[in-house]
Amino acid sequence: MLYDITAEIAYDYDAAASSGRHVVRLIPADIPGEQRTVVQRLSISPRAAEQVTQTDFFGNRAVDVRHEGAHDHLAFRVKARVERLALPPTFDVSARLKDLAGEIAQIRSLDAESPHHFLASSPRVADEPAITAYAKEQISPRMTALEAVRTLGRALHRDMRFDAEATTVDTPPAEAFERRHGVCQDFTHIMIGGLRGIGVPAAYVSGYLRTIPPEGKERLEGADAMHAWVRAWCGVDGGWVEYDPTNALMVGADHIVVGHGRDYADVSPVKGILKSSGSQKSSQAVDVVPVEGQRDQG
């Protein structure tokens, strides 16, 4: 599928900021065999004093932006055309859960794709006994890793309520889980915690979701803002798979990847520090539209 994506994150400051520095992760990724970014452009208003693009540890595109001089408004806007390739159907060649630890131990690598990065606690996903216990209740040790991913994902979708107002970007996963509600970020963090708790390496993916579903399909939750889902390692043969717990489905051609990391902290769309005394309001708008004239693959 070919998509035209527009995304804007904007801030209004009560008191003008005298300077600011941000790291922006909004530009869709290039992933060989999965996703191709045909063209992309990040525009920033007001104009940045400095703008440097780098590739972070996990291979994500991160733009380092600095502003000087007073400004009371800041907006990052991405326009991109992205080809999302149809992913082949997944056969379950993943490892049995009980064998997974052994397979992980075989891997002597700290490269970006190594499962080792995604097993321990990370800044936003601490080891939460309640979430681990929940995950253990859902699965059986005889399952394959992929079965465990799907089972836990479905369970969370069943037991948690999507509520765009209930949590904020800083709500700890344990709290969202306790109340069984939240948005994609909460669903994703909780599922990551659960998977790690049962020994499955799990990562956080940040991206976009097709806004209007193909005909006959339901509109997905999280389509009008940045979306997030889970990436799990299912053994040497199973490799990485992606699952969207907010919508209880394996990730397919409707999901466009921006980047991934251990949790939200590694891939937050805009991370910033500014010198200002007042509070701020932020807004987000995302539009993901299939380019006219293609046959809808559903």
């Binding site: 520095r21 891997i107 700290l110 080792h116 991370k271």
Partner: protein, 798 residues
């Protein structure tokens, strides 16, 4: 001379008599046959010549020095932290030069090994690929900082300054207990211990044979200076700030080496270059000796909850324009579980075994190691694999019961959580003598040794920082648990020759140029000036109030009511003899001073703290009236002492100017307010005399005017007299001069906004006469002067 003095004859025994090392443990003073080691002999011989009273007097000299120097430590307790006297154990730990040299060689080898390991972990990661280090261990550590992976430090080195905690085992050999690679502390304290111990023991105690430490610091300072990208760039020490428990040391080292002491907020990163905000604009810095843990250094790319860091610092490192000492990310080397792997890595990487072993450690993430730990449990302690704290710091050990209880699922839990755990052999530290109750007693000791890079590689500081147990339990050596500290002497068998002494005479570490004044420091100096002046003013008002209270025996008169209302404006309740509001003002002054301790004389700091302590003591017992009036007299003399120190000793440069502007401005604000209230034609009777008292000008008034106070004389003296330092006009002239000497006072012949505002206020007042200067005009003058702060902040302090 001490050496010729005879000890009283009734007791000819040595203080070492009855000194009994613990069986099965090595001792620093006595060798394994119970004989005093050669390195200690001169010292003990001299000690034995003193009687107990003399020793007590000698020790007191060291304690006095530490108090005067303001050395203390902060003890943390559930009910809050407290400053405690620096717990110096006066008897140094004495090492033989030969032995120290061997120890040093082992540590240099270790430093080189650690450099190779950290370069690999942030580079090709072959140690993981080849199985020398488990990937899970590194990936799980919060100290392995992914944003730093792939960045090579511009100097070619990650490590520049290291500390190692070492202890001597029962077999007499030294062992490394912990590697300190992130931001090692202890050097400043080691220096202070050295100075204090030198006060205690004169040269005759064999100090002529003790290796000097100053050249170690000089060479390291030179090295840091050489690492700058450009000779114009600055070198600075980056501190987490005054809440850190070794802030004292940061300020001390900064003063000692002549480097700026900066906090994260002082810095800004532009196009990969780090700049410090100064009163003269941005100035480049290209070397930062950080005393801040890496995770807190940059909220943008590292710990986003950090309030202490500088956004963009990692970007500066990435651009190659900043040398961090040590590099960000080197904290990974402190990971306790690494001790399990370093011996094998040494063989692989250096092709030789570790010359100096570290304590035997087993990482329980692997089955064979888990089994070993399980089988040898009695000789081992269990700790956190990823802990980076030094070995003996509180809460390091994990209860064995949780994992090895007979019943329950302990065993399977150990298998499951093994990767989080290490087994380590239980350490038996050697003992060193402490002087207690008139004789020497053995106490466990660990020694921190320091290594720094110089032009020709690693150099080892010939001395160190010893920590000595309170009891014979080696776990009680930390300060938090009542341990003490001691100087470490490395003793040569001949007098130390001139070459290893300081090449330059007395004070080699003078700040090269006084120019760079960070904006934050200027801001704190300015507020220090304001608060000190305010405190002084409040004291005089409280004194005046209480003096009148005695005369009239009533707080009901209109003047008293007005004065009480006036004091309320300062947060002061007149019902209190020594009001809390006054203590708060002094507290604010101390807070401002504490943030600039590197630029502040020790005497000035002591004077301020002394003032506070006095005020606090008085608050407990002083009553209203006479008692309070004379208490204020005492405090006024103390605070004038502080002002005198500043006035007489402070270098007349930008820092002094900001402090003086703050003082002058506060004096004008206080004086105008008093005149507007108490010299107003409608003011209650006695208001004019009160204004003169508040302005501390009663004497001048008597000398200048042969009449009693009237509005004309009071306004003349306190507002318009250009020779009375208490007058508004005098202070405005002072501020005018100070401001004209500040950087950027004139830009291309144009006055700066601040210069213009000051000139305006000065001119407005200068043309007034006592007759024309109405209360309304006084208030207008006060408002003009108050507005200086904003202009000052805009121009210099952002």
């Amino acid at each position: 001379m001490v050496a010729r003095r005879q000890r009283p004859t009734e007791d000819t025994e040595s203080y070492t008599a009855g000194y009994r090392p613990i069986p099965g443990v090595a001792d620093e003073l006595l060798d394994d046959r119970g004989v005093v080691r050669p390195a200690w002999r001169t010292f003990i011989r001299n000690l034995d010549r003193l009687n107990e009273a003399e020793i007590a007097r000698y020790f007191a000299r060291g304690d006095q020095y530490l108090r005067d120097a303001g050395v203390f430590f902060r003890q943390y307790a559930p009910e809050g932290s407290k400053e405690r006297a620096w717990p110096l154990s006066h008897v140094p730990v004495i090492l033989d030069e030969e032995e120290w040299r061997e120890l040093g060689e082992g540590l240099v080898q270790r430093a080189n090994l650690l450099e190779r390991v950290v370069a690999d972990l942030y580079g090709p990661r072959t140690l993981v690929r080849d199985g020398y280090l488990p990937a899970a261990l590194i990936a799980g550590s919060p100290e392995w900082l992914r944003p730093l992976v792939g960045i090579e430090p511009p100097s070619g080195h990650f490590l520049h300054f290291l500390a190692f905690d070492v202890g001597r085992g029962p077999d007499g050999k030294w062992w490394v207990l912990s590697d300190r690679t992130q931001a090692p502390s202890g050097t400043g304290f080691a220096l202070e211990n050295r100075v204090a111990t030198s006060r205690v023991f004169p040269d005759a105690f064999g100090r002529r044979n003790v290796l000097r430490v100053a050249s170690f610091f000089r060479r390291f300072r030179d090295r840091l200076t050489d690492l700058r990208g450009d000779p114009e760039d600055g070198v600075a020490i980056l501190t987490p700030g005054i809440l850190n428990d070794s802030y004292f040391e940061h300020a001390y080292i900064a003063r000692y080496l002549g480097f700026m002491l900066l906090e994260g907020e002082d810095l800004i990163v532009e196009k990969g270059a780090v700049m410090v905000r100064t009163v003269e604009g941005l100035r480049p810095v290209s070397v930062l000796w950080r005393r801040l843990d890496a995770a807190f250094a940059d909220p943008l790319e590292l710990n986003d909850e950090s309030q202490l860091g500088t956004p963009g610092l990692v970007a500066a490192v990435r651009s190659g324009q900043l040398t961090m000492v040590n590099a960000l990310g080197t904290g990974i080397l402190e990971t306790r579980a690494l001790l399990a792997f370093l011996p094998r890595i040494a063989e692989a990487v250096l092709g030789e075994p570790l010359a100096l072993p570290n304590i035997a450690t087993w990482w329980c993430g692997q089955k064979a190691e888990r089994d070993h730990v399980r089988e040898n449990l009695d000789d081992l302690v269990i700790g956190r694999a990823l802990s980076t704290r030094p070995l003996f710091e509180a809460n390091q050990l994990v209860s064995k019961e949780a994992y090895f209880e007979k019943a329950g699922d302990g065993a399977s839990r150990f298998d499951r959580e093994g990767a989080q755990l290490v087994g380590q052999e239980a350490v038996k530290l050697s003992t060193t003598p402490v002087f207690l109750d008139g004789r020497l007693h053995p106490r466990p000791v660990s020694v921190r040794l320091f290594l720094a890079r110089s032009e020709d590689g690693w150099q080892v500081m010939p001395g160190g920082y010893a920590r000595v147990g309170r009891t014979q339990d080696p776990n009680a050596i930390t300060l938090q648990r009542g341990g003490s500290v001691a100087d470490v002497w490395v003793v040569s068998d001949r007098p130390v020759d001139a070459e290893s002494m300081l090449p330059a005479p007395a004070a080699p570490y003078i700040r090269a140029e006084p120019g760079i004044l960070p904006s934050r420091a200027a801001d704190n100096l300015y507020w220090l000036g304001r608060y000190v002046e305010r405190a002084e003013f409040v004291m005089r008002l409280v004194r005046a109030y209480n003096a009148r209270l005695i005369e009239t025996m009533s707080a009901e008169g209109p003047l008293m009511i007005l004065l009480a209302h006036h004091l309320e404006g300062f947060g002061v309740e007149v019902e209190e003899g020594v009001p809390q509001g006054l203590l708060d003002v002094i507290g604010s002054a101390i807070y401002s001073a504490s943030r600039i301790r590197d630029r502040f004389s020790v005497d000035g700091w002591t004077a301020l703290n002394d003032l506070m302590k006095n005020a606090q003591d008085m608050r407990e017992r002083v009553d209203l009236g006479d008692d309070a009036a004379s208490a204020m007299g005492v405090l006024l003399r103390k605070i004038t002492g502080f002002s005198g120190l500043v006035h007489e000793n402070m270098y007349r440069f930008n820092g002094w100017r900001f402090l003086s502007v703050g003082r002058g401005q506060e004096r004008i604000i206080c004086t105008t307010t008093v005149l507007a209230r108490f010299a107003d034609p409608k003011a209650p009777d006695g208001g004019l005399d009160l204004a003169v008292d508040a302005g501390d000008s009663a004497m001048s008034h008597r000398q200048r005017y042969s009449v009693a106070t009237n509005r004309g004389t009071v306004i003349d003296l306190l507002a318009l007299d250009s020779l009375n330092p208490r007058s508004i006009l005098y202070q405005l002239s002072e501020i005018k001069t100070l401001v004209s000497d500040l950087p950027g006072a004139e830009v291309r012949g144009q006055l700066s906004p601040l210069s213009r505002a000051v000139l305006q206020a000065h001119t407005n007042l200068a043309i007034e006469t006592p007759m024309t200067l109405t209360t309304g005009k006084l208030i207008a003058c006060r408002d003009e002067v108050m507005a200086f702060s904003d202009t000052l902040t805009d121009s210099y302090l952002r």
